[in-house]
Symmetry: C3
Subunit: 217 residues, 3 copies
């Protein structure tokens, strides 16, 4: 089971690093900036969670495998884009779709592992804290990515992203709370995040917001 | 006394959440983003203070009433703006003035409670730390709000805001230091913040800065 | 030796504060904002390092000399710019060059002191953590400066800055690791940072990035 979780976490790290490095290349960061942005996207949520929980130094320093994966991934994205003849196929619909699946897998697993961090330091009774930190672990890296390239964080504006995260965290927590099997709870929580993200992506779900062209606001 | 402080803190939370949610709607965040920005504005300063003091998890997780108030307030702001016929009256001068009063009340009380947090973990002898963290508690949430919507923080540019905060913190600290009654010190500190803000608002006080049209800089 | 380190750290604090305050004036912050930005640039990297290491409150509160130097420096920059007749000479090539030397000195010494902080709380065996936090101490303040004025952090885009920082940290760490004299290690680490920065500045070295006018990305 541990190996499965680790494998999925590494897939998530990979997907998050791709998203960060791709955004970095678009913002014309250099090779160093691309690696920093990829790694920040991948591990930033976990670092914020650890700081808020008082876990110092954060887990990223103790288990450098995540940063290493993010580093290699971001470097590869940069090099592919830099020698750009090779990258045009990467802009295909298939590529975007695959990355999106990976991102949904990563989001699912980071949310569960975020909840588990909060629970493992003794806050199982504080549902608000567990759900908040689980969600932050999933979405925090992407928020930092956007802030660093001076964009309003996507998660505050687009699609059903944070809500999917929160819903999955809630399902996981409630199942644990009523005494379900831990593995079953994990699978259900992750499935909720993954499916909500997939539905939101395919059906282009958006949360309500005031249209850009409504000038009265 | 405690009940009075709590009541004023809740008014401040409400006012800060209104300011965050209003900014969110203007930046076209969705309903989730609006709630996040409202809550961040309301509790962000306190979270930064707690992290710097090593109080983990931050108070917002232990006393969720503040986040709850911010959540409800932000949701209400979003819904009023979304069904916008109802909101035009809210853009009136009266509305802006009332929110501004509330904001000044909130700033006053958060500064005092920020100073108290620093004092309560044993740093009364470090005046710099107490004043810094008191001020940060008051202005930090608004800074995060502006960063998240990609604006230069207002407090760095406009009006006598941070200086009012700092002055109130200083009055409170000095009065405690010379042995004044705690409640009297609180009232004086809060009054200084509130009055400076009101004067700055009514007389349009600004701190010196180099004019936009001075191109030689 | 301690006195030498302190003197160099104060020169670095001065240079970083000048860079922050100059950016603040250009972004039309007011006098308060200029001081905040100067101080943030000077001590922000150290604060992030301390929070990640669990050193609370951060060193800036315990040794306020750094903030004091940053405060005075930023105030002086603002006043010189405000009464701007006096400042035109400051825009000379000489001025920029001198500040750049100072900045390189500051970067050198902050990186070594960042590594030392990590080592002194017991993480000598974790090379990744030491190098990461050493580099962050050097570049973190400048990143915060840019984020606060809504610019993409320069260090992610321009010149050989972070790489110089990382290289110096690595030299210092490796020399300590193989048992070199501490002072010799410091001098070598600092020299690497300083020289790389000087070369990058004079020869306009840049890391690879995708050109602005390549619209295919």
């Amino acid at each position: 089971m541990e190996a499965v979780i680790l494998a999925i976490e590494l897939i998530g790290t990979f997907a998050f690093a791709v998203s960060g490095a791709t955004a970095a290349v678009k913002a014309r960061l250099d090779i160093f900036g691309t690696i920093v942005l990829g790694a920040t996207t991948a591990v930033g949520g976990g670092v914020m969670r650890d700081v808020l929980l008082g876990i110092t130094p954060p887990v990223m320093f103790i288990k450098p495998i995540y940063v290493l994966i993010a580093f290699i991934t971001s470097l590869a994205v940069f090099l592919l884009e830099y020698f750009h003849a090779a990258t045009r196929p990467m802009r295909s619909v298939l590529y975007i779709r695959v990355i999106n699946y990976f991102d949904a897998v990563g989001l699912s697993v980071f949310i569960i592992s975020g909840c588990n961090s909060a629970i493992s330091v003794g806050y199982f009774d504080n549902a608000f804290l567990v759900l908040f930190l689980g969600t932050l672990t999933g979405i925090g890296g992407g928020m930092l990515r956007d802030i660093l390239i001076c964009k309003i964080p996507n998660v505050l504006r687009k699609k059903v992203y944070a809500i999917a995260a929160l819903a999955g965290a809630a399902v996981y927590y409630i199942m644990l709370y009523i005494g379900s099997d831990e593995i079953a709870s994990m699978i259900c929580g992750m499935a909720v995040v993954f499916l909500l993200r997939m539905f939101a992506f395919h059906f282009e779900w958006d949360l309500p917001r005031i249209p850009e062209d409504d000038k009265s606001v």
